[in-house]
């Protein structure tokens, strides 16, 4: 039985439909990412799972149980809030113990589990501090420990890394994945950062205007986007007309060369053009190349150390394999 089954769930706020007849199944042990821009409905969907919002239509089942009418405090779910929502008048240890006290566990058991949870997030000796005395990264870990200590069937994470600075984010990303694998829990994470979703999740859903546009493992969504929206939202894509349909072609799938490539047997497509712009990114450069089929984006590794493999206004050849482009449904 999947841990989460969402069947036709909708949520409206006045005239705005935040979540629009969403169907989604999440399996046990997944690290599932809900990805989308602001206002796409990803946070509302997460709040529907936590029980802070009630759906206007459809059903939500967690662990096979219909959640209709089940208030947040009775759901087998815990959430890590984007703002962390740590209780400012309690110590770190009391924050982590809060959920266990509500269960009415004996004092000794609570102390034990709180200590273990704090050790898990490497804050073993910070238990007596107040949240205001911690750094942003430490607060994030307290929030994580507070949610994990309840051993929820499902952990919801609302933009878990958004409030951290870039350097810290990288490390925390791996830390979250490690914890999720070690504990064997199901994580459902909301993020607007496609890189974060791609690098962490086992599967992700791309959302737009309250609907799920595509669900799948990151490489599949990246390599086989079904719609123009997904192709554009995840990474960069050249959208090319091809008869009465559209093709998505990733910039790194295009080979860039000075000499005209041989026509047979591969590559299957080639086109001449002129470099109009170069964005230097260190390891790679992104070239805008004007061709008879429009301006195409091409990404190429900077192999030569002087980094000047190609110049602006240079005449170049572009080539790509027959199966490099993805046909879009819409």
């Amino acid at each position: 039985m999947p841990i989460v089954q969402i069947e036709g769930a909708s949520k409206r706020f006045g005239p705005v439909t935040a979540v629009d007849k969403v169907d989604l199944t999440i399996e046990r042990g997944e690290l599932f990412a809900l990805l989308g821009g602001s206002g796409c409905g990803k946070t509302t969907l997460l709040r529907l799972l936590a029980g802070f919002e009630t759906p206007d239509g459809g059903r939500i089942l967690i662990d096979g149980q219909d959640m209709a009418g089940v208030p947040p405090h009775r759901r087998p779910v815990n959430m890590m809030f984007q703002s962390y929502a740590l209780f400012p008048h309690m110590s770190v240890a009391d924050n982590v113990a809060y959920g266990l006290r509500r269960e009415g566990l004996p004092k000794g058991a609570i102390a034990e589990r709180v200590a273990a949870a704090l050790a898990q997030v490497k804050l073993a000796d910070h238990g007596s501090r107040r949240p205001s005395q911690l750094s942003g990264g430490q607060r994030q870990r307290v929030a994580l420990a507070r949610a994990l200590v309840k051993r929820p069937k499902l952990l919801l994470l609302d933009e878990p890394l958004a409030a951290l600075d870039r350097k810290l984010r990288e490390g925390t990303r791996f830390e979250l994945v490690r914890l999720q694998e070690e504990l064997g829990l199901t994580f459902v994470m909301v993020t607007h950062d496609q890189e974060e979703a791609m690098s962490m999740s086992t599967r992700l859903a791309v959302m737009d205007l309250g609907r799920i546009k595509q669900v799948g493992p990151p490489h599949e969504v990246y390599e086989r986007p079904r719609s123009r929206f997904v192709a554009d939202f995840i990474g960069i894509a050249n959208i090319l007309p091809d008869g009465n349909r559209w093709l998505a072609l990733r910039p790194e799938k295009i080979a860039l060369g000075v000499a005209e490539p041989p026509s047979a047997p591969l590559p299957a497509h080639r086109i001449a053009g002129e470099i109009v712009d170069i964005a230097y990114e260190g390891d790679r450069s992104l070239y805008r190349v004007a061709t008879e089929r429009g301006v195409l984006l091409v990404s190429a590794a900077n192999v030569a150390r002087d980094g000047r493999s190609f110049q602006r206004n240079q005449r170049v050849w572009l080539a790509w394999a027959a199966d490099a482009a993805q046909v879009l449904d819409e």
């Binding site: 936590a50 029980g51 802070f52 208030p71 947040p72 405090h73 009775r74 779910v77 815990n78 959430m79 809030f81 703002s83 929502a85 740590l86 209780f87 400012p88 008048h89 809060y98 959920g99 509500r102 269960e103 205001s132 507070r146 949610a147 309840k150």
Partner: protein, 278 residues
């Protein structure tokens, strides 16, 4: 710069310390009805001694404290749900509800207390209403009893309780209540463990704002209470204006001040602490 700092101190020295010294000097003197003003300066503690030994004064002290404490508890019990409701109302209605809390201040305090006489008096509005609804045929008025004083103080000081409570509750991050619910706390437990402790500075501020002036309240017991209701503010008034015993009245005033220094200091510390936390 120094002048700017010195100015408020100078103000306090001229308009607080100097009068206080005068009052203290009078309190240490003795009553001399033939003189004008009726005081013979000296150094005797007999006025203070009288305050702590005479049953009348001791009773007045105790009943003042009791009435003020009761009023504080009642305004807290009434004011907390009011402040909570205002803080939780949609942003559109909040200013309207706050306005309703503040509105009584637009009318003179004295007139509002007088209005209660009209309401509570024999054949007053309340009695007529009770007779009209048939709830009671010959109700006895509470005017002139401690109940009326208590009612008047609760009525007059309720806004002083509601406003600091509202300020504390309005600041509360609703995300914390969601977090509490998420961790398994039913609404009542979330209120007791999150909302209540975080609104405690507002509770302390409200209680002191009601308790401190209520102890020395004079107008309400004078107008709504009868001869049976002793409050120290009224005793002070009587000593000064009726008995023309300036030294004794001064001693009462000084004791009142000393008694209230404790709660005021507590209030100041609370305010400083809540400033620090920000």
């Amino acid at each position: 710069m120094r002048f700017v700092i010195a100015l408020p101190f100078l103000w306090l020295a001229v308009f607080f310390l100097l009068p206080f010294a005068l009052v203290l000097a009078i309190a240490l003197g003795s009553n001399a009805p033939d003189l004008a003003p009726p005081v013979e300066l000296g150094f005797s503690l007999k006025n203070f001694a009288l305050l702590f030994t005479d049953d009348l004064y001791v009773a007045a002290w105790l009943s003042s404290l009791r009435i003020a404490a009761t009023a504080t508890v009642v305004t807290l019990l009434l004011g907390y749900p009011m402040a909570y409701a205002v803080a939780r109302t949609s942003a559109r209605w909040r200013p309207v509800l706050l306005m309703l809390v503040i509105l009584p201040f637009w009318t003179s305090f004295l007139i509002r207390v007088y209005a209660w006489i009209g309401l509570l008096a024999n054949n007053g509005l309340l009695e007529q209403f009770l007779r009209w609804t048939g709830l009671a045929q010959n109700p006895e008025t509470i005017l002139g009893t401690e109940w009326a004083v208590q009612l008047g103080i609760v009525y007059a000081y309720l806004p002083f309780m509601v406003l600091p409570l509202y300020a504390a509750l309005e600041k509360l991050d609703l995300g914390l209540l969601e977090a509490a619910a998420d961790l398994g706390a039913p609404p009542v437990a979330a209120f007791l463990t999150i909302t209540l402790p975080l609104s405690l500075p507002g509770v302390v501020a409200g209680c002191l704002l009601v308790f401190i002036p209520a102890v020395g309240e004079f107008v309400i017991p004078d107008l709504l209470g009868g001869t049976g209701t002793l409050m120290i503010g009224k005793v002070l008034w009587d000593e000064f204006f009726t008995n023309a015993d300036w030294p004794l009245a001064s001693a009462v005033a000084i004791c009142l001040l000393v008694l209230l220094v404790g709660p005021i200091a507590l209030f100041q510390r609370q305010q400083a602490k809540s400033l620090e936390r920000k």
